[in-house]
């Protein structure tokens, strides 16, 4: 879902811009420091329930309170991705990705990074406030992706739906976590520190596998049970509590080089 469409520059714009880009390239290429060696980093998300790979629809799970649940939908935005060390920050441009557990191709993305060793993978879980109020977007942020509220403008940052016998809401469980304004902001700053350096080598791809543990939605900061809160589909304090919990759902599982 991270869409190639975001590169669809209008052709007449390209016709205007291309000579400028070429000139810029030529002028930069005379400056040695600009010719940085680059390699690629691929970031892969693997959804689990407390370490067990997530299976949609059929698999039955229990949360830490022993409440049973199934998962029918699990989607979240990853944006503003960068690799960082003490002196350098390598940010992805136009960095917006929507992962969807139902679409395996949406679960990873890659971008080019200057060769070097990095220690932190940094991103937002959600969409930064600016893009929540900048009008019609495309690519991962296209409202067609069913992650944009039309009754109260703004993105649903993460969506988790399923069923649970503990739910009094027709045995449904629906968490649509959104809100970008200061008082209701659920966007989470995620910084994953790698135990060993993330090494980027020219012409090679470094793969970072991240585990996303859905069971954290009910725990870590605040205990939230399905029985009490089976539904959250508006911004506000419950959404913020759930978001604070799920800010802890990511961990680096492995780093490897190809």
């Amino acid at each position: 879902m991270s869409s190639g469409r975001k590169f669809a520059v209008d052709s007449w714009q390209l016709a205007v811009c291309l000579p400028v880009i070429v000139m810029l390239f030529l002028s930069f290429s005379e400056v040695p420091s600009i010719k940085a060696k680059t390699g690629s980093v691929r970031i892969v998300f693997k959804n689990t329930v407390a370490g067990i790979p997530l299976m949609l629809d059929s698999a039955k799970y229990k949360n830490i309170f022993g409440e049973p649940f199934t998962v029918t939908k699990f989607k979240y935005y990853i944006s503003n991705v960068s690799l960082e060390n003490k002196t350098d920050k390598q940010a992805e441009k136009e960095s917006y990705h929507l992962t969807d557990a139902r679409d395996s191709t949406s679960m990873s993305f890659s971008y080019m990074v200057t060769e070097g060793k990095y220690r932190d993978l940094v991103f937002l879980l959600g969409v930064d406030s600016i893009r929540n109020c900048s009008g019609a977007q495309t690519g991962a942020l296209d409202p067609m992706n069913d992650m944009f509220w039309t009754w109260n403008s703004g993105y649903v940052m993460a969506k988790f739906e399923g069923g649970s016998d503990s739910s009094k809401a027709m045995r449904r469980m629906e968490y649509h976590i959104g809100g970008y304004k200061a008082s209701e902001n659920v966007v989470q700053n995620i910084r994953l520190h790698a135990a060993t350096p993330i090494s980027i080598t020219e012409g090679k791809e470094t793969i970072i596998i991240i585990e996303t543990d859905i069971s954290k939605w009910w725990q870590t900061i605040d205990k939230i049970t399905i029985a009490e809160n089976p539904i959250c589909t508006t911004p506000g304090s419950l959404a913020k509590r759930i978001a604070a919990n799920y800010s802890n759902m990511f961990s680096i599982q492995s780093i490897s080089n190809n």
């Binding site: 469409r5 669809a8 052709s11 007449w12 009008g135 067609m144 039309t150 403008s153």
Partner: protein, 329 residues
Amino acid sequence: MIISAANGPGPKPTYLEFKIPDGWPKPPTDIFAKNRLSEEGFQLGRKLFYDGRLSKDGNFPCASCHQQFAAFANFEHDFSHGFNNTFTTRNAPPLLNLAWMTEFQWDGAVNHIEVQPLSPMTASNEMAESIDSILIKLRRDTAYVRMFKAAFGTTEINSQRMLKALAQFTGSIVSADSKYDKIKRGERVFTTSELNGYNTFKEKCASCHKEPLFTDNSFRNNGLPLNTFTSDYGRMKITRDKNDSLKFKVPTLRNVAVTYPYMHDGRFVTLGQVIDHYRTGVQTNQPNLDSALRNKLPMTLTEKNNLIYFLFTLTDSSVVHNPRFAERQ
């Protein structure tokens, strides 16, 4: 980038300048900064606005609830008709001077002109269509393929382009040429009744219905009793703040003579009824009642009648009868 000949670059669109009427404030944000206004974009937006295919059964274009002769409000309807014999739950507002508006709908639910149409398009009691289906229908129509290319350079039809084109059309509807405007420019003069009404307006109404837009685009509780049929608390739904209970956006008074019925639920049919609400009907026991209405707005019947005469001077044929904003024949 590889571009096939058929999909090749078209000529540049004919860019247009968005003119701010003399003496008007600058819009709080430039809605055309990232959506450069062009003749081709405007014409595409105009076609979309009048196209029933944007709705599920073809019967509900944007224009079904936003009629030009009603200043792009819904003539004589308190609530509008939607898909499958449904009703909306609020009165359709006029689409005027939207370039000066940053929060849309009666409760400010929508934060940008470009994303506003998503709401009626997908609501089950309005156009009831999915964005995917709309785009599929548009892509089948070679006229649209041509028009998207003319407006945006390539034949790609996506939601962003559709919404930007609609914003070019609706954002271009500026009402600034009513009799009132001509008087302000020294081209015409008020009658005695109108002038007296204008003085009453300035004294009693202008703090919220601020000139020249005739709204300050704020949300206020104007002392209407709750509509128990819709149980609509307005702005509170968006902010979840009880201080915003029963607050609704101050509507513009431009073209107010043709936008009846009035209020967020269309409960008043005539301007006389509206003014009577402010004279005598305001529920002053509501804790967050707008401070300007604490003592209601006492007015003699003569003042009331003159005020109505003044409000008639805000009807603007450059909007209501302008062929540029009409459906293309």
